[in-house]
Symmetry: C2
Subunit: 447 residues, 2 copies
């Protein structure tokens, strides 16, 4: 099998090919670098460094031959450009950081990738500052949805979603504070996982919010999400947001799938229809649907509270640039930060408490079922230049507030249609159950 | 054995006497109610309700006879008056809440106490609003240290420490946001435990800070702390701060006891000497001392950050009273809240991030040892009217920031001297190890 033929396979299959010697890490990396070059119109990557990447691939090949391969040995993985990778800039999609020195250290998750043998393929486009979900980046150019040029890939990890969907990496890392892994997974038709809070250390990332930030993988299969998340998980004493999260074994047998009432949320009809068909497939897999009430709190209030927390924390994270180079912030981001600047400590505390109400909504639902299912986003990807729907993150942000794992997987859609995502959510530590369920769903057969 | 003779025993011994029928719950409750009446000068209790308490004791006796006793059946437990107990006022030591309606529901921890069979004996004095550590309460009167009248019992759970030390309850609940369980345990010469964050749900308490609040027991023995904390622990889906925390089995065998450098902290010479003697006892128990660097961050900065977070959250918690009845706040508390009112959302976010630095300091220490030991407070209890030492919580607040369990136990002191506390701190979920170590220390023999 040629390296070229492998590019569209999932990471797990590529790993098998590498382990069996059917392809070398160098050949795979070279093929991806060529594909990235050929797909520049998508603008998924903000930076590649072929020399550096191929050196890492050669080292991986040596370990594969020596029999000392790690679990991700030789896999070309790309990283959202708000996570440090030693020797690369970390722009966070911000002009203020364009001429920043290259990172001296890896982010914790990136270091874990390398320890597991992954070959870092490049740094991925994102929404400016990781705060926003269309990835129409004013400083580095829009990232396009591989399914339809001129359409958003979602965000903020838009480059991650697009690179995975367009077969421009074996898998990618993203970050998710209100939905930023799952929204691009949904819009791009790939798999994305926001893990339990603290399971993956966020250290070495450009902070949006200490409470809401999560690092997670995007991939072409559910099993790949497991492969990646187990490689990058682990307690990090250097990070106050890191947690020891024991991962439960996957739950087999019939699950009670909780489905909250969506009537209070403005969900497009085509998304509703695809979601209903998805529920039927879950039933066909032997699970049963358990209806639940809708959110006890108005989504717009939660959204505003979440944004205030993020914006106020970004004022701290970007304090020096905000003071010295305000003109380098886009008008949209500057307006958000300026708004937060007018808010009081008490406003922040009140917003934080509102996030607690969001967390309790989620915890109540999860107390009444095994796994929760609802759409990932209320709408499909939209064209750049049209109004950004305010509700983009209304179905994703509750999982950030509650710190529970949430996975987005593609629902079946007709050929040529834009993707729609199904979101599966479980209690803290239930990642393996969500992944097994998503795998069974994608296979269309009972597990 | 008479009920009177039992009052000074620990809760575990009282439970054995109840189970063996050597005393009834009613007799025990009556004896405590008499003792409380006789010790009014201490002012540990803000409220008792003998009729109500004795009815609960009668029900406990019925279950003891029927063989359906819970793990705390018949034990008279008192509760800090910032935790709701159904049918009682919850003053939080604040004049604004003096005429508040009686609570309609139990706080989660109080409900767990009752489910386990405990008899609620009354509501305990505390520092106004649980923000401060001398319990010189301007609205309900000072609570006195049973070891020396006119001296502080510590705070904010001063009534809890005093009631346990003066044998006015079998054990008590307190709350701890910067040290409020451990400081009174230290000053009053009893045992106190701040559990892992979220192990005990704080729901139904008057909030100081969602990030820093912990509910924990004070008792006359280490084993009692275990008895109580295991009874009140448990995930509470109705509370965003509740966590599923698996408790590790107690670690046996020699432990590496980490001892941070205290030179940057203003610790009194007598406290240092008692602490050094305590370390010798730990060595005599077979453990070894592992010196660690001092805190990487100036305690005063952390204290100020912690206070801002608490004060801003209290502005939200007490918003209606702050708007309508400002004169009912003491000048000291009003000044703190007014100061926080002048702070921005960005200041709050920056303070929150500073708490992260405190958490990392703690996590680094714990990564380098099994259990950390240092004094609970830098000084002994002081006389009311003398200046309150600013450093009171400097040795306790790091454990709140990191969310790790921390236990205070009495160090040996000469007869007639005021108590000094030894603090033992371990990683999340290590409560049983801390309790076993404290038990062995108190017994003065290897476990």
């Amino acid at each position: 099998m040629s390296a070229r033929e492998l590019l569209a396979l999932d990471a797990t299959a590529q790993r098998e090919a590498l382990a069996a010697g059917r392809v070398t890490a160098v050949a795979l990396a070279e093929a991806y670098l060529e594909a990235i070059e050929a797909a520049r119109a998508i603008n998924a990557y903000l930076a590649v460094d072929p020399e550096w990447t191929l050196a890492a691939a050669r080292a991986a090949d040596a370990r594969l031959i020596a029999g000392t391969a790690g679990p991700l040995e030789g896999l070309p993985i790309a990283v959202k450009d708000n996570l440090d990778a030693e020797g690369w800039r970390t722009t966070a999609g911000m002009a203020t950081r364009r001429d920043r020195l290259h990172a001296a250290h890896d982010a914790h998750a990136v270091a874990r990738l390398r320890e597991a043998g992954a070959v870092i393929l490049g740094k991925l486009n994102l929404h400016e500052g990781a705060l926003g979900a269309d990835n129409d980046n004013p400083h580095f150019g829009a990232c396009h949805n591989p399914h339809r040029h001129g359409y958003t890939p979602g965000g903020s990890s838009g480059g991650s979603g697009a690179a995975v969907a367009a077969n421009l990496c074996a898998a990618a890392l993203g970050t998710d504070s209100m939905g930023s892994v799952r929204i691009p997974a949904s819009y791009c038709g790939v798999f994305g996982l926001k893990p339990s809070f603290g399971l993956v250390s966020p250290r070495g990332g450009v902070v949006v919010s200490r409470r809401l930030d999560h690092v997670g993988p995007l991939a072409r299969s559910a099993r790949d999400l497991g492969l990646l998340v187990e490689a990058i998980a682990g307690f990090d004493p250097e990070c106050a947001e890191s947690r020891r999260v024991p991962l439960d074994p996957p739950r087999r047998g019939p699950l009670a799938i909780g489905v909250p009432d969506l009537s209070a949320i403005d969900v497009d009809a085509d998304v509703r229809a695809a979601f209903e068909a998805g529920l039927e497939r879950l039933c066909a897999l032997g699970h049963r649907i358990h209806p639940l009430p809708g959110p006890a709190i108005e989504p717009g209030r939660l959204r505003r509270a979440g944004l205030l927390v993020c914006e106020a924390e970004m004022l701290v994270e970007h304090a020096a640039d905000w003071a010295a180079r305000r003109g380098d912030f886009s008008p949209a981001l500057a307006a958000m930060l300026a708004w937060a600047e007018s808010k009081s400590a008490r406003d922040f505390a009140a917003a934080d408490r509102l996030l607690d109400a969001g967390a309790v909504t989620m915890q109540r639902w999860l107390a009444a079922c095994d796994v929760l299912a609802w759409p990932t986003t209320p709408q499909r990807a939209f064209a750049f230049g049209t109004a950004v729907p305010a509700s983009q993150a209304d179905l994703t942000c509750l999982a950030n507030m509650a710190g529970v794992p949430a996975l987005s997987l593609p629902l079946p859609v007709a050929a040529g249609e834009l993707p729609i995502g199904l979101q599966l959510i479980g209690p803290v530590g239930s990642e393996r159950t969500l992944i097994a369920l998503a795998e069974a769903f994608a296979a269309g057969s009972a597990d």
